[in-house]
Amino acid sequence: MQTLTRFLGNPVALIGLVLLVLVTAMALSAASLFPNNPLDLAGRPLQWPLSNPRFWLGTDVQGRDIAAVMFYGARVSLLIGVVATLIAMTIGILIGALAGYYGGIADELLMRLTEAFQTLPNFLLLLVLVAVFGSDIKTVTIAIGLVSWPASARLTRAEFLSLRNREFVEACRTIGMRDMQIIFREILPNALPPVIVYASVVMAVAILLESALAFLNLSDPNVPSWGNLIGGGRAVLRTQWYVSAIPGVAILMTVLAVSLIGQGLNDALNPRLKRR
Protein backbone atom coordinates (compact mmCIF):
# COMPACT_ATOMS: atom_id res chain seq x y z
CA MET A 1 0.00 0.00 0.00
CA GLN A 2 2.77 2.36 1.00
CA THR A 3 4.59 1.38 -2.16
CA LEU A 4 1.51 2.21 -4.23
CA THR A 5 1.17 5.68 -2.69
CA ARG A 6 4.85 6.33 -3.30
CA PHE A 7 4.46 5.10 -6.88
CA LEU A 8 1.45 7.34 -7.58
CA GLY A 9 3.05 10.32 -5.85
CA ASN A 10 5.99 10.19 -8.24
CA PRO A 11 5.56 12.46 -11.31
CA VAL A 12 7.85 10.24 -13.41
CA ALA A 13 5.69 7.19 -12.76
CA LEU A 14 2.50 9.15 -13.33
CA ILE A 15 3.61 10.40 -16.75
CA GLY A 16 4.50 6.84 -17.68
CA LEU A 17 1.17 5.54 -16.42
CA VAL A 18 -0.82 8.17 -18.35
CA LEU A 19 1.09 7.40 -21.56
CA LEU A 20 0.55 3.67 -21.14
CA VAL A 21 -3.17 4.16 -20.49
CA LEU A 22 -3.38 6.24 -23.70
CA VAL A 23 -1.67 3.56 -25.78
CA THR A 24 -3.81 0.84 -24.21
CA ALA A 25 -6.94 2.88 -24.97
CA MET A 26 -5.76 3.13 -28.59
CA ALA A 27 -5.34 -0.63 -28.73
CA LEU A 28 -8.75 -1.35 -27.18
CA SER A 29 -10.73 1.14 -29.27
CA ALA A 30 -9.13 0.18 -32.59
CA ALA A 31 -11.87 -2.18 -33.73
CA SER A 32 -14.77 0.13 -32.84
CA LEU A 33 -13.20 3.30 -34.31
CA PHE A 34 -11.90 1.62 -37.46
CA PRO A 35 -14.15 -1.35 -38.29
CA ASN A 36 -12.53 -1.96 -41.69
CA ASN A 37 -9.33 -3.95 -42.16
CA PRO A 38 -6.55 -1.37 -41.58
CA LEU A 39 -4.40 -3.02 -44.24
CA ASP A 40 -7.00 -2.51 -46.97
CA LEU A 41 -6.99 0.35 -49.44
CA ALA A 42 -8.92 3.21 -47.82
CA GLY A 43 -8.46 6.11 -50.20
CA ARG A 44 -6.09 7.92 -52.58
CA PRO A 45 -2.46 7.21 -51.53
CA LEU A 46 -0.21 9.83 -49.92
CA GLN A 47 -2.74 12.38 -48.69
CA TRP A 48 -1.18 14.73 -46.14
CA PRO A 49 -2.48 14.72 -42.57
CA LEU A 50 -5.43 17.10 -41.98
CA SER A 51 -5.92 17.57 -45.74
CA ASN A 52 -8.90 15.19 -45.82
CA PRO A 53 -11.30 15.03 -42.85
CA ARG A 54 -11.74 11.29 -43.41
CA PHE A 55 -8.03 10.61 -42.84
CA TRP A 56 -6.81 12.98 -40.17
CA LEU A 57 -3.34 11.36 -40.12
CA GLY A 58 -3.26 11.00 -43.89
CA THR A 59 -2.74 7.91 -46.04
CA ASP A 60 0.43 5.96 -46.87
CA VAL A 61 1.98 4.78 -50.14
CA GLN A 62 -0.58 2.02 -50.51
CA GLY A 63 -3.55 4.24 -49.69
CA ARG A 64 -4.03 2.84 -46.19
CA ASP A 65 -5.46 5.01 -43.43
CA ILE A 66 -2.46 5.86 -41.22
CA ALA A 67 -4.67 6.53 -38.19
CA ALA A 68 -6.19 3.04 -38.47
CA VAL A 69 -2.76 1.39 -38.75
CA MET A 70 -1.62 3.43 -35.73
CA PHE A 71 -4.52 2.21 -33.57
CA TYR A 72 -4.19 -1.42 -34.63
CA GLY A 73 -0.40 -1.14 -34.36
CA ALA A 74 -0.78 -0.29 -30.66
CA ARG A 75 -2.39 -3.72 -30.20
CA VAL A 76 0.47 -5.52 -31.88
CA SER A 77 3.20 -3.61 -30.06
CA LEU A 78 1.61 -4.11 -26.63
CA LEU A 79 0.71 -7.74 -27.27
CA ILE A 80 4.16 -8.68 -28.55
CA GLY A 81 5.78 -6.64 -25.76
CA VAL A 82 3.77 -8.31 -22.99
CA VAL A 83 3.91 -11.88 -24.28
CA ALA A 84 7.60 -11.76 -25.22
CA THR A 85 8.37 -10.28 -21.79
CA LEU A 86 6.41 -13.06 -20.06
CA ILE A 87 8.34 -15.67 -22.04
CA ALA A 88 11.69 -14.02 -21.32
CA MET A 89 10.96 -13.55 -17.61
CA THR A 90 9.75 -17.15 -17.21
CA ILE A 91 12.89 -18.57 -18.79
CA GLY A 92 15.13 -16.11 -16.97
CA ILE A 93 13.58 -16.66 -13.55
CA LEU A 94 13.60 -20.44 -13.97
CA ILE A 95 17.25 -20.60 -15.03
CA GLY A 96 18.38 -17.98 -12.53
CA ALA A 97 16.50 -19.63 -9.64
CA LEU A 98 17.86 -23.10 -10.34
CA ALA A 99 21.42 -21.83 -10.84
CA GLY A 100 21.35 -19.65 -7.74
CA TYR A 101 19.67 -22.19 -5.47
CA TYR A 102 21.66 -25.29 -6.38
CA GLY A 103 25.03 -23.70 -7.17
CA GLY A 104 27.90 -26.02 -8.13
CA ILE A 105 27.74 -27.80 -11.48
CA ALA A 106 24.14 -26.78 -12.22
CA ASP A 107 25.12 -23.15 -11.70
CA GLU A 108 28.22 -23.54 -13.84
CA LEU A 109 26.32 -25.11 -16.75
CA LEU A 110 23.37 -22.73 -16.66
CA MET A 111 25.59 -19.67 -16.42
CA ARG A 112 27.69 -20.86 -19.36
CA LEU A 113 24.47 -21.12 -21.35
CA THR A 114 23.45 -17.64 -20.24
CA GLU A 115 26.86 -16.30 -21.17
CA ALA A 116 26.62 -17.92 -24.60
CA PHE A 117 23.31 -16.15 -25.20
CA GLN A 118 24.80 -12.86 -24.02
CA THR A 119 27.75 -13.26 -26.37
CA LEU A 120 25.43 -13.36 -29.37
CA PRO A 121 24.12 -9.94 -30.37
CA ASN A 122 20.40 -10.33 -29.62
CA PHE A 123 19.17 -8.68 -32.81
CA LEU A 124 21.39 -10.94 -34.95
CA LEU A 125 20.13 -14.02 -33.10
CA LEU A 126 16.61 -12.77 -33.71
CA LEU A 127 17.39 -12.50 -37.43
CA VAL A 128 18.67 -16.10 -37.46
CA LEU A 129 15.56 -17.38 -35.65
CA VAL A 130 13.28 -15.53 -38.06
CA ALA A 131 15.28 -16.79 -41.07
CA VAL A 132 15.04 -20.38 -39.85
CA PHE A 133 11.54 -20.56 -38.36
CA GLY A 134 9.70 -17.99 -40.47
CA SER A 135 8.17 -14.67 -39.50
CA ASP A 136 4.53 -15.08 -38.55
CA ILE A 137 3.56 -13.12 -35.47
CA LYS A 138 3.67 -16.10 -33.06
CA THR A 139 7.17 -17.09 -34.15
CA VAL A 140 8.40 -13.50 -33.92
CA THR A 141 6.99 -13.11 -30.41
CA ILE A 142 8.53 -16.36 -29.17
CA ALA A 143 11.83 -15.48 -30.86
CA ILE A 144 11.93 -12.08 -29.13
CA GLY A 145 11.27 -13.81 -25.81
CA LEU A 146 14.02 -16.34 -26.51
CA VAL A 147 16.68 -13.67 -27.10
CA SER A 148 15.70 -11.45 -24.13
CA TRP A 149 16.04 -13.66 -21.03
CA PRO A 150 19.77 -13.72 -20.07
CA ALA A 151 19.93 -10.53 -18.00
CA SER A 152 16.89 -11.50 -15.91
CA ALA A 153 18.45 -14.93 -15.29
CA ARG A 154 21.57 -13.23 -13.93
CA LEU A 155 19.52 -10.91 -11.77
CA THR A 156 17.40 -13.75 -10.33
CA ARG A 157 20.53 -15.80 -9.69
CA ALA A 158 22.15 -12.95 -7.77
CA GLU A 159 19.03 -12.58 -5.60
CA PHE A 160 18.89 -16.32 -4.93
CA LEU A 161 22.59 -16.42 -4.03
CA SER A 162 22.06 -13.80 -1.36
CA LEU A 163 18.83 -15.38 -0.04
CA ARG A 164 19.55 -19.10 -0.10
CA ASN A 165 21.48 -19.18 3.18
CA ARG A 166 19.15 -16.93 5.14
CA GLU A 167 17.58 -18.26 8.31
CA PHE A 168 14.07 -18.62 6.90
CA VAL A 169 15.41 -20.88 4.18
CA GLU A 170 17.35 -22.94 6.72
CA ALA A 171 14.12 -23.23 8.70
CA CYS A 172 12.25 -24.49 5.64
CA ARG A 173 14.92 -27.11 5.07
CA THR A 174 14.79 -28.18 8.70
CA ILE A 175 11.07 -28.83 8.59
CA GLY A 176 11.68 -30.95 5.49
CA MET A 177 10.18 -28.83 2.71
CA ARG A 178 10.99 -29.99 -0.79
CA ASP A 179 13.44 -27.97 -2.91
CA MET A 180 10.81 -26.90 -5.43
CA GLN A 181 8.59 -25.63 -2.62
CA ILE A 182 11.43 -23.66 -1.08
CA ILE A 183 12.48 -22.20 -4.43
CA PHE A 184 9.09 -21.13 -5.73
CA ARG A 185 7.02 -20.52 -2.61
CA GLU A 186 9.59 -19.21 -0.15
CA ILE A 187 12.60 -17.65 -1.89
CA LEU A 188 11.07 -16.48 -5.18
CA PRO A 189 8.55 -14.01 -3.64
CA ASN A 190 11.45 -12.36 -1.81
CA ALA A 191 13.65 -12.31 -4.90
CA LEU A 192 10.97 -10.96 -7.21
CA PRO A 193 10.85 -7.13 -6.70
CA PRO A 194 14.08 -6.21 -8.56
CA VAL A 195 13.27 -8.80 -11.23
CA ILE A 196 9.83 -7.26 -11.80
CA VAL A 197 11.40 -3.82 -12.13
CA TYR A 198 13.75 -5.27 -14.71
CA ALA A 199 10.77 -6.66 -16.65
CA SER A 200 10.01 -3.09 -17.73
CA VAL A 201 13.43 -2.92 -19.41
CA VAL A 202 12.79 -6.25 -21.12
CA MET A 203 9.42 -5.04 -22.37
CA ALA A 204 10.86 -1.75 -23.66
CA VAL A 205 13.55 -3.63 -25.55
CA ALA A 206 11.02 -6.20 -26.84
CA ILE A 207 8.86 -3.45 -28.36
CA LEU A 208 11.94 -1.85 -29.95
CA LEU A 209 13.13 -5.23 -31.31
CA GLU A 210 9.75 -5.93 -32.91
CA SER A 211 9.56 -2.48 -34.45
CA ALA A 212 13.07 -2.84 -35.89
CA LEU A 213 12.18 -6.23 -37.33
CA ALA A 214 8.97 -4.87 -38.84
CA PHE A 215 10.87 -1.84 -40.19
CA LEU A 216 13.19 -4.20 -42.07
CA ASN A 217 10.06 -5.95 -43.40
CA LEU A 218 11.11 -9.18 -41.67
CA SER A 219 8.14 -9.37 -39.31
CA ASP A 220 4.66 -10.67 -40.12
CA PRO A 221 3.47 -8.70 -43.20
CA ASN A 222 -0.19 -9.52 -42.48
CA VAL A 223 -0.23 -7.64 -39.18
CA PRO A 224 -0.57 -3.83 -39.00
CA SER A 225 2.55 -2.61 -37.21
CA TRP A 226 4.21 0.73 -36.54
CA GLY A 227 7.64 -0.46 -37.64
CA ASN A 228 6.21 -1.73 -40.90
CA LEU A 229 4.55 1.63 -41.59
CA ILE A 230 7.87 3.43 -41.06
CA GLY A 231 9.62 0.98 -43.38
CA GLY A 232 6.98 1.54 -46.05
CA GLY A 233 7.38 5.30 -45.73
CA ARG A 234 11.08 5.13 -46.59
CA ALA A 235 10.31 5.07 -50.30
CA VAL A 236 8.73 8.54 -50.09
CA LEU A 237 10.89 9.90 -47.25
CA ARG A 238 12.12 12.95 -49.18
CA THR A 239 8.65 14.28 -49.96
CA GLN A 240 6.00 12.61 -47.74
CA TRP A 241 8.10 12.32 -44.60
CA TYR A 242 5.04 12.23 -42.34
CA VAL A 243 4.40 8.56 -43.24
CA SER A 244 7.61 7.57 -41.42
CA ALA A 245 7.52 10.31 -38.79
CA ILE A 246 4.10 9.65 -37.20
CA PRO A 247 4.48 5.98 -36.17
CA GLY A 248 7.93 6.68 -34.70
CA VAL A 249 6.39 9.04 -32.16
CA ALA A 250 4.01 6.26 -31.10
CA ILE A 251 6.86 3.78 -30.60
CA LEU A 252 8.81 6.42 -28.66
CA MET A 253 5.83 7.17 -26.39
CA THR A 254 5.10 3.50 -25.70
CA VAL A 255 8.69 2.59 -24.87
CA LEU A 256 9.03 5.76 -22.79
CA ALA A 257 5.85 4.86 -20.88
CA VAL A 258 7.12 1.38 -20.07
CA SER A 259 10.55 2.56 -18.95
CA LEU A 260 9.16 5.45 -16.87
CA ILE A 261 6.85 3.04 -15.07
CA GLY A 262 9.84 0.79 -14.44
CA GLN A 263 11.77 3.75 -13.04
CA GLY A 264 8.79 4.70 -10.87
CA LEU A 265 8.51 1.14 -9.54
CA ASN A 266 12.21 1.15 -8.78
CA ASP A 267 11.94 4.42 -6.86
CA ALA A 268 8.87 3.17 -5.00
CA LEU A 269 10.54 -0.08 -3.98
CA ASN A 270 13.83 1.58 -2.98
CA PRO A 271 12.72 4.90 -1.47
CA ARG A 272 16.15 5.37 0.10
CA LEU A 273 17.89 5.55 -3.29
CA LYS A 274 15.54 8.17 -4.67
CA ARG A 275 16.45 10.91 -2.27
CA ARG A 276 20.08 10.85 -3.35
Binding site: F123, L125, L129, A131, L216, I251
Partner: protein, 323 residues
Protein backbone atom coordinates in the same frame (compact mmCIF):
# COMPACT_ATOMS: atom_id res chain seq x y z
CA UNK B 1 53.55 -12.15 -14.98
CA UNK B 2 50.49 -12.32 -12.78
CA UNK B 3 48.78 -9.97 -15.22
CA UNK B 4 49.71 -12.22 -18.12
CA UNK B 5 48.27 -15.26 -16.33
CA UNK B 6 45.09 -13.33 -15.68
CA UNK B 7 44.79 -12.56 -19.40
CA UNK B 8 45.28 -16.22 -20.35
CA UNK B 9 42.72 -17.32 -17.77
CA UNK B 10 40.13 -14.87 -19.06
CA UNK B 11 40.71 -16.01 -22.63
CA UNK B 12 40.43 -19.71 -21.68
CA UNK B 13 37.16 -19.01 -19.87
CA UNK B 14 35.53 -17.87 -23.11
CA UNK B 15 36.25 -21.16 -24.93
CA UNK B 16 33.30 -23.13 -23.44
CA UNK B 17 30.99 -20.21 -24.16
CA UNK B 18 32.10 -20.16 -27.77
CA UNK B 19 31.57 -23.93 -28.03
CA UNK B 20 28.00 -23.62 -26.74
CA UNK B 21 27.35 -20.83 -29.23
CA UNK B 22 28.67 -22.93 -32.10
CA UNK B 23 26.81 -26.10 -31.14
CA UNK B 24 23.63 -24.03 -30.78
CA UNK B 25 24.10 -22.46 -34.20
CA UNK B 26 24.71 -25.87 -35.73
CA UNK B 27 21.50 -27.19 -34.18
CA UNK B 28 19.58 -24.23 -35.58
CA UNK B 29 20.99 -25.03 -38.98
CA UNK B 30 19.61 -28.58 -38.65
CA UNK B 31 16.15 -27.12 -38.01
CA UNK B 32 16.27 -24.93 -41.09
CA UNK B 33 14.09 -26.12 -43.92
CA UNK B 34 16.29 -27.21 -46.82
CA UNK B 35 20.09 -27.53 -46.86
CA UNK B 36 22.94 -26.17 -48.95
CA UNK B 37 22.13 -28.57 -51.76
CA UNK B 38 18.51 -27.42 -51.91
CA UNK B 39 19.72 -23.83 -52.10
CA UNK B 40 22.23 -24.67 -54.83
CA UNK B 41 19.72 -26.62 -56.87
CA UNK B 42 17.20 -23.81 -56.52
CA UNK B 43 19.90 -21.40 -57.79
CA UNK B 44 20.56 -23.64 -60.79
CA UNK B 45 16.86 -23.82 -61.50
CA UNK B 46 16.16 -27.43 -60.52
CA UNK B 47 17.91 -30.81 -60.75
CA UNK B 48 17.11 -34.51 -60.45
CA UNK B 49 17.28 -36.45 -57.21
CA UNK B 50 20.31 -38.57 -58.25
CA UNK B 51 22.39 -35.43 -58.74
CA UNK B 52 21.17 -34.03 -55.42
CA UNK B 53 22.27 -37.24 -53.66
CA UNK B 54 25.68 -36.91 -55.29
CA UNK B 55 25.94 -33.29 -54.21
CA UNK B 56 24.95 -34.20 -50.64
CA UNK B 57 27.71 -36.82 -50.59
CA UNK B 58 30.13 -34.23 -51.99
CA UNK B 59 29.29 -31.72 -49.26
CA UNK B 60 29.30 -34.44 -46.57
CA UNK B 61 25.63 -33.92 -45.78
CA UNK B 62 24.95 -37.67 -45.73
CA UNK B 63 26.90 -38.17 -42.49
CA UNK B 64 25.25 -38.26 -39.05
CA UNK B 65 24.60 -35.02 -37.20
CA UNK B 66 27.41 -35.64 -34.69
CA UNK B 67 29.98 -36.23 -37.42
CA UNK B 68 28.76 -33.13 -39.22
CA UNK B 69 29.03 -31.07 -36.01
CA UNK B 70 32.65 -32.17 -35.50
CA UNK B 71 33.46 -31.38 -39.13
CA UNK B 72 31.73 -28.01 -38.78
CA UNK B 73 33.79 -27.16 -35.67
CA UNK B 74 37.09 -28.21 -37.26
CA UNK B 75 36.30 -26.09 -40.29
CA UNK B 76 35.49 -23.11 -38.07
CA UNK B 77 38.83 -23.42 -36.29
CA UNK B 78 40.45 -22.84 -39.67
CA UNK B 79 38.06 -19.89 -40.18
CA UNK B 80 36.43 -21.78 -43.03
CA UNK B 81 32.84 -20.54 -42.78
CA UNK B 82 31.62 -22.30 -45.89
CA UNK B 83 30.64 -20.99 -49.29
CA UNK B 84 28.05 -18.36 -50.04
CA UNK B 85 25.98 -19.48 -53.01
CA UNK B 86 24.56 -15.96 -53.35
CA UNK B 87 27.84 -14.04 -53.49
CA UNK B 88 29.71 -16.84 -55.24
CA UNK B 89 32.71 -16.78 -52.91
CA UNK B 90 33.77 -18.07 -49.48
CA UNK B 91 31.72 -16.57 -46.64
CA UNK B 92 34.83 -15.38 -44.80
CA UNK B 93 35.82 -13.25 -47.83
CA UNK B 94 32.37 -11.68 -47.99
CA UNK B 95 32.50 -10.92 -44.26
CA UNK B 96 36.03 -9.49 -44.29
CA UNK B 97 35.00 -7.12 -47.08
CA UNK B 98 32.18 -5.77 -44.93
CA UNK B 99 33.87 -5.80 -41.53
CA UNK B 100 35.79 -2.48 -41.73
CA UNK B 101 32.67 -0.32 -42.20
CA UNK B 102 31.01 -1.92 -39.15
CA UNK B 103 34.13 -1.63 -36.98
CA UNK B 104 34.44 2.02 -37.96
CA UNK B 105 30.79 2.71 -37.16
CA UNK B 106 31.00 0.86 -33.83
CA UNK B 107 34.22 2.55 -32.75
CA UNK B 108 32.94 6.03 -33.58
CA UNK B 109 29.49 5.53 -32.02
CA UNK B 110 31.02 3.98 -28.92
CA UNK B 111 33.45 6.88 -28.47
CA UNK B 112 30.63 9.34 -29.00
CA UNK B 113 28.30 7.59 -26.52
CA UNK B 114 31.07 7.08 -23.95
CA UNK B 115 32.38 10.65 -24.08
CA UNK B 116 28.94 12.22 -24.21
CA UNK B 117 27.60 9.98 -21.44
CA UNK B 118 30.64 10.77 -19.30
CA UNK B 119 30.35 14.54 -19.60
CA UNK B 120 26.56 14.68 -19.23
CA UNK B 121 26.62 12.14 -16.41
CA UNK B 122 29.12 14.21 -14.44
CA UNK B 123 27.12 17.40 -15.09
CA UNK B 124 23.89 15.74 -13.94
CA UNK B 125 25.53 14.27 -10.82
CA UNK B 126 27.03 17.62 -9.81
CA UNK B 127 23.61 19.27 -10.00
CA UNK B 128 21.65 16.31 -8.71
CA UNK B 129 17.88 16.97 -8.37
CA UNK B 130 18.31 20.51 -9.74
CA UNK B 131 17.15 21.62 -13.17
CA UNK B 132 20.28 20.65 -15.18
CA UNK B 133 19.95 17.12 -13.80
CA UNK B 134 16.26 17.07 -14.69
CA UNK B 135 16.86 18.26 -18.25
CA UNK B 136 19.74 15.86 -18.88
CA UNK B 137 17.90 12.87 -17.38
CA UNK B 138 14.75 13.62 -19.38
CA UNK B 139 16.65 13.88 -22.65
CA UNK B 140 18.41 10.63 -21.76
CA UNK B 141 15.10 8.85 -21.11
CA UNK B 142 13.71 10.07 -24.44
CA UNK B 143 16.69 8.93 -26.49
CA UNK B 144 16.66 5.60 -24.65
CA UNK B 145 13.09 5.06 -25.88
CA UNK B 146 13.75 6.16 -29.47
CA UNK B 147 13.98 3.47 -32.14
CA UNK B 148 17.38 3.84 -33.85
CA UNK B 149 16.02 3.44 -37.37
CA UNK B 150 13.45 6.19 -36.85
CA UNK B 151 16.03 8.58 -35.38
CA UNK B 152 18.18 7.88 -38.44
CA UNK B 153 15.34 8.60 -40.86
CA UNK B 154 14.48 11.85 -39.06
CA UNK B 155 18.17 12.79 -39.20
CA UNK B 156 18.13 12.22 -42.95
CA UNK B 157 15.01 14.38 -43.37
CA UNK B 158 16.45 17.27 -41.36
CA UNK B 159 20.17 17.25 -42.10
CA UNK B 160 20.33 15.68 -45.55
CA UNK B 161 17.07 16.60 -47.27
CA UNK B 162 16.14 19.97 -45.77
CA UNK B 163 19.41 21.52 -44.63
CA UNK B 164 21.63 19.65 -47.12
CA UNK B 165 24.48 19.65 -44.61
CA UNK B 166 25.24 15.93 -44.63
CA UNK B 167 24.97 13.07 -47.13
CA UNK B 168 21.93 10.81 -46.74
CA UNK B 169 23.76 7.52 -47.06
CA UNK B 170 26.73 5.50 -48.26
CA UNK B 171 30.23 5.21 -46.82
CA UNK B 172 31.89 7.57 -49.30
CA UNK B 173 31.28 9.50 -52.52
CA UNK B 174 31.28 6.79 -55.17
CA UNK B 175 33.50 7.48 -58.15
CA UNK B 176 34.94 10.67 -56.66
CA UNK B 177 38.46 9.19 -56.82
CA UNK B 178 39.44 10.72 -53.48
CA UNK B 179 42.56 9.23 -51.91
CA UNK B 180 44.45 9.70 -48.66
CA UNK B 181 43.29 12.51 -46.41
CA UNK B 182 40.55 13.68 -48.78
CA UNK B 183 39.03 10.20 -48.70
CA UNK B 184 39.25 10.04 -44.89
CA UNK B 185 37.46 13.39 -44.60
CA UNK B 186 34.83 12.17 -47.04
CA UNK B 187 34.24 9.03 -44.95
CA UNK B 188 34.01 11.06 -41.71
CA UNK B 189 31.47 13.27 -43.47
CA UNK B 190 29.39 10.27 -44.46
CA UNK B 191 29.63 8.63 -41.04
CA UNK B 192 28.52 11.70 -39.08
CA UNK B 193 24.78 10.93 -39.21
CA UNK B 194 25.03 7.15 -38.65
CA UNK B 195 27.41 7.73 -35.72
CA UNK B 196 25.10 10.29 -34.15
CA UNK B 197 22.12 7.95 -34.62
CA UNK B 198 23.68 4.86 -33.06
CA UNK B 199 25.63 6.91 -30.52
CA UNK B 200 22.68 8.92 -29.20
CA UNK B 201 20.69 5.77 -28.44
CA UNK B 202 23.54 4.36 -26.36
CA UNK B 203 24.54 7.70 -24.88
CA UNK B 204 21.36 7.53 -22.79
CA UNK B 205 22.52 4.33 -21.08
CA UNK B 206 26.06 5.57 -20.48
CA UNK B 207 24.73 8.83 -19.08
CA UNK B 208 22.46 7.02 -16.63
CA UNK B 209 25.21 4.69 -15.42
CA UNK B 210 27.74 7.51 -15.11
CA UNK B 211 25.33 9.63 -13.08
CA UNK B 212 24.46 6.76 -10.72
CA UNK B 213 28.09 5.75 -10.38
CA UNK B 214 29.22 9.32 -9.59
CA UNK B 215 26.53 9.66 -6.93
CA UNK B 216 27.53 6.31 -5.45
CA UNK B 217 31.24 7.12 -5.27
CA UNK B 218 30.61 10.62 -3.86
CA UNK B 219 29.16 9.06 -0.69
CA UNK B 220 32.23 6.90 -0.01
CA UNK B 221 34.60 7.53 2.89
CA UNK B 222 37.74 8.29 0.88
CA UNK B 223 35.95 11.18 -0.81
CA UNK B 224 35.05 12.62 2.56
CA UNK B 225 38.69 12.21 3.60
CA UNK B 226 39.87 14.02 0.48
CA UNK B 227 37.45 16.87 1.15
CA UNK B 228 38.44 16.94 4.83
CA UNK B 229 42.11 17.36 4.06
CA UNK B 230 41.15 20.55 2.23
CA UNK B 231 41.27 19.61 -1.45
CA UNK B 232 39.24 21.81 -3.77
CA UNK B 233 35.91 20.38 -4.90
CA UNK B 234 37.02 20.18 -8.55
CA UNK B 235 40.22 18.33 -7.60
CA UNK B 236 38.33 15.78 -5.52
CA UNK B 237 35.94 15.25 -8.39
CA UNK B 238 38.63 14.84 -11.01
CA UNK B 239 41.26 12.87 -9.16
CA UNK B 240 39.22 10.80 -6.72
CA UNK B 241 35.60 10.48 -7.78
CA UNK B 242 35.92 10.34 -11.57
CA UNK B 243 38.52 7.59 -11.67
CA UNK B 244 36.46 5.26 -9.50
CA UNK B 245 33.18 6.19 -11.12
CA UNK B 246 34.61 5.18 -14.52
CA UNK B 247 34.76 1.47 -13.64
CA UNK B 248 31.05 0.71 -14.26
CA UNK B 249 31.28 2.63 -17.55
CA UNK B 250 34.07 0.33 -18.71
CA UNK B 251 31.97 -2.71 -17.73
CA UNK B 252 29.10 -1.32 -19.76
CA UNK B 253 31.25 -1.19 -22.91
CA UNK B 254 31.69 -4.96 -22.68
CA UNK B 255 28.04 -5.60 -21.85
CA UNK B 256 26.80 -3.49 -24.72
CA UNK B 257 29.19 -4.64 -27.44
CA UNK B 258 26.66 -7.19 -28.67
CA UNK B 259 23.70 -4.82 -28.49
CA UNK B 260 25.65 -2.27 -30.46
CA UNK B 261 26.43 -4.82 -33.19
CA UNK B 262 22.72 -5.62 -33.32
CA UNK B 263 21.90 -1.93 -33.56
CA UNK B 264 24.29 -1.56 -36.47
CA UNK B 265 22.03 -3.87 -38.53
CA UNK B 266 19.26 -1.27 -38.68
CA UNK B 267 21.52 1.77 -38.81
CA UNK B 268 23.53 0.33 -41.69
CA UNK B 269 20.31 -0.49 -43.50
CA UNK B 270 18.98 3.04 -43.02
CA UNK B 271 22.17 4.69 -44.25
CA UNK B 272 23.06 2.09 -46.92
CA UNK B 273 26.45 1.43 -45.31
CA UNK B 274 28.27 -1.60 -46.72
CA UNK B 275 28.82 -3.22 -43.31
CA UNK B 276 28.30 -6.50 -41.53
CA UNK B 277 24.83 -5.53 -40.26
CA UNK B 278 23.53 -4.78 -43.72
CA UNK B 279 25.08 -8.04 -44.91
CA UNK B 280 23.14 -9.88 -42.18
CA UNK B 281 19.93 -8.26 -43.38
CA UNK B 282 20.65 -9.17 -47.01
CA UNK B 283 21.49 -12.72 -45.96
CA UNK B 284 18.10 -13.10 -44.27
CA UNK B 285 16.24 -11.70 -47.27
CA UNK B 286 18.13 -13.95 -49.70
CA UNK B 287 17.93 -16.95 -47.34
CA UNK B 288 21.72 -17.27 -47.40
CA UNK B 289 22.04 -19.15 -44.09
CA UNK B 290 25.75 -19.92 -44.49
CA UNK B 291 26.56 -16.22 -44.61
CA UNK B 292 24.14 -15.38 -41.80
CA UNK B 293 25.63 -17.97 -39.43
CA UNK B 294 29.12 -16.84 -40.43
CA UNK B 295 28.21 -13.28 -39.42
CA UNK B 296 26.82 -14.49 -36.09
CA UNK B 297 30.04 -16.44 -35.47
CA UNK B 298 32.26 -13.47 -36.32
CA UNK B 299 30.08 -11.19 -34.16
CA UNK B 300 30.39 -13.59 -31.22
CA UNK B 301 34.18 -13.54 -31.69
CA UNK B 302 34.07 -9.75 -31.80
CA UNK B 303 32.02 -9.56 -28.60
CA UNK B 304 34.43 -11.95 -26.87
CA UNK B 305 37.40 -9.82 -28.02
CA UNK B 306 35.80 -6.61 -26.75
CA UNK B 307 35.02 -8.23 -23.41
CA UNK B 308 38.59 -9.52 -23.18
CA UNK B 309 39.93 -6.01 -23.78
CA UNK B 310 37.50 -4.64 -21.21
CA UNK B 311 38.67 -7.20 -18.64
CA UNK B 312 42.30 -6.27 -19.32
CA UNK B 313 41.53 -2.57 -19.05
CA UNK B 314 39.55 -3.19 -15.89
CA UNK B 315 42.42 -5.08 -14.29
CA UNK B 316 44.72 -2.19 -15.20
CA UNK B 317 42.35 0.35 -13.64
CA UNK B 318 41.70 -1.73 -10.54
CA UNK B 319 44.68 -3.99 -9.70
CA UNK B 320 42.63 -5.93 -7.12
CA UNK B 321 40.76 -7.68 -9.96
CA UNK B 322 43.78 -9.51 -11.36
CA UNK B 323 44.45 -11.28 -8.08
Amino acid sequence: MRFFLFAIRRLAASVPTLLIVLAGLFMLLQFAPGDTVDALVAQMGGGDSAMMEQLRKYYGLDATATVQLIRYLTRLVRLDLGFSAIYGKPVIDVILERLPATLLLMASSLSFAFAGGLVLGVLAARRVNQWPDGVISTIGAIFYATPAFWLGLMGIIIFAVNLRWLPAGGLEEIGSGHIGLRRAVDIVWHLALPTATLGLIFLATYLRIMRASMLEVMTLDFVRTARAKGLAKATVLRRHVLRNALLPMVTLVGLQAGTMLGGSVVVESVFALPGLGRLAYEAVVQRDLNTLLGIVFVSALLVICVNFLVDILYARLDPRIAN
